[in-house]
């Protein structure tokens, strides 16, 4: 069987398109051919990661739809018709004030709200077995449940000498602070930690940009986004470019 044929078999197997006979062939190959087995496992894991990425995007999309619906509903429910007449005269003034002082769609605050999303835990598989959870388990568990006060406490209690250099704990600690609206502390942590990290450079640049946006430090936010445009992968580049364009509007 050629490499090409093996790939086609794997792809169709994962798509659920094989006949019973072909499925048997896959089972046999898994036992006899270790390269085939490895390639199949990699393909399956890739599909799982793709599924998670696409569904995270869907969840963000539905959350935005929900946000729009909730704000429309609360506006319409909160203001009875008579009040509309009573405030009609003030509308012009409100519009003028909104234009001058309220955050517009491209205000730093609004952009921060639109773009900030806690980074997915891609470093530590949280143990959900009956075993006693470790401090790291608890920290990431709280993080995944978006309970940031608890996550911060747990992350900060993990001893610094703990052998977790590849876990980027400070990235997640920084993001937890940011999610908790403490952008100043988030920025301090992220700035310090990014110097030690070689692998997560893009993630640090992105969240530093957002922390600066939250603090209204637009030039610094732009600087991080520009670095991301130069060094990041395609997804980061696209994200950075879109946000930069909106900041420049």
């Amino acid at each position: 069987m050629t490499a090409e044929e093996k790939y086609d078999l794997i792809e169709r197997y994962c798509n659920g398109e094989l006949s019973a006979e072909e499925e048997k062939q896959v089972m046999a190959l898994q036992q006899q051919d270790s390269d085939f087995k490895q390639e199949l496992e990699l393909y399956q894991s890739t599909l799982q990661v793709v599924d998670d990425l696409v569904e995270d995007d869907l969840k963000d999309y539905l959350s935005r739809v929900e946000k729009d619906l909730s704000s429309t509903n609360s506006k319409t429910n909160a203001i009875p018709l008579q009040i509309w007449f009573a405030v009609a005269a003030s509308v012009v003034i409100i519009i003028v004030f909104s234009y001058l002082f309220w955050p517009t769609n491209s205000s730093p605050e609004a952009l921060y709200e639109a773009y900030f999303e806690p980074y997915r835990n891609v470093v530590y598989p949280v143990s959900r077995s009956g075993e006693l959870p470790t401090l790291i388990d608890s920290a990431f568990n709280y993080y995944e449940k978006r309970m940031y006060n608890e996550a911060i406490l747990a992350f900060e209690r993990i001893p610094s000498a703990y052998p977790t250099t590849d876990l980027e704990l400070d990235l997640y600690l920084g993001i937890s602070y940011l999610a908790n609206n403490d952008a100043t502390r988030a920025k301090e942590i992220l700035l310090k930690a990014q110097l030690k990290s070689s692998e997560f450079t893009s993630e640090y640049q992105w969240y530093l940009a957002l922390a600066n946006l939250k603090l209204n430090n637009i030039p610094q936010a732009k600087q991080h986004l520009k670095s991301l445009q130069q060094q990041g992968g395609a997804t980061w580049k696209k994200q950075a470019t879109t946000l930069l364009n909106q900041l420049n509007e």
């Binding site: 790939y7 990699l42 799982q48 990661v49 569904e55 929900e66 470093v123 949280v126 395609a234 997804t235």
Partner: protein, 191 residues
């Protein structure tokens, strides 16, 4: 259009990779679902919203991945059954026992509704490799989500002339991704 036609039209839209279709679905049934679920179960409004979002995503996943190819009931019946399944799971997790006696619910149980995530070291490396992929591979790899429908979607979105071109490009992207993943493993071993 009757409710069955409407359901099958939605299915075709999802199979073509139309994400907006579920936004419309979400808006259409959200209020009714909230009213129904809050009156039937001891859950909070934010829990109900979260469950409804996960239910809509589960519906999308099963259609997009070819596990659900046509509906024999209305979208609402199906979607609510998926969400009911999710509510029951949540209540079960809170140590409440709930009996399953609903035929549609039993049908939904066989679908991939509750999806447990498992993070492994390998998945971490794959995730990072995908984030570093350039275009068009980044977009193409994400279309693997649509399993058997992916080729058609890739052909249309990327403007390729034939499915053959899409197939070659899809395979090339997968090979490139594998190369990136192996490089990452090697880099880790060297460190």
């Amino acid at each position: 259009m009757n409710s069955k036609d409407k359901a099958n039209q939605l299915i075709r839209k999802i199979q073509r990779g139309d994400r907006e279709a579920i936004g419309v679905l979400y808006q259409e049934y959200r209020a009714e679902f909230l009213k129904w679920s809050l009156s039937q179960y001891a859950i909070s409004e934010s829990q109900a919203i979260d469950i409804f979002q996960n239910g809509v995503i589960a519906f999308y996943r099963n259609v997009a991945q070819g596990k659900l190819i046509q509906l024999n009931s209305s979208i609402k019946t199906y979607l609510f059954a998926i969400c009911k399944n999710l509510i029951l799971k949540q209540l079960r997790d809170q140590k409440n026992t709930v009996a399953v006696d609903d035929p549609i619910l039993a049908e939904v149980m066989s679908l991939d509704v509750v999806k447990e995530r498992e993070e492994t070291h390998q998945k971490k490396i794959i995730h990072r490799a995908i984030m570093e992929l350039g275009e068009p591979c980044n977009e193409i790899i994400r279309m693997f989500y649509f399993r058997g429908f992916a080729m058609e979607i890739i052909k249309e979105r990327m403007g390729y002339k034939s499915e053959g071109v899409a197939r070659t490009q899809k395979k090339r992207c997968m090979q490139y991704l594998q190369k990136l993943i192996l490089e990452k493993y090697k880099k880790e071993l060297d460190q």
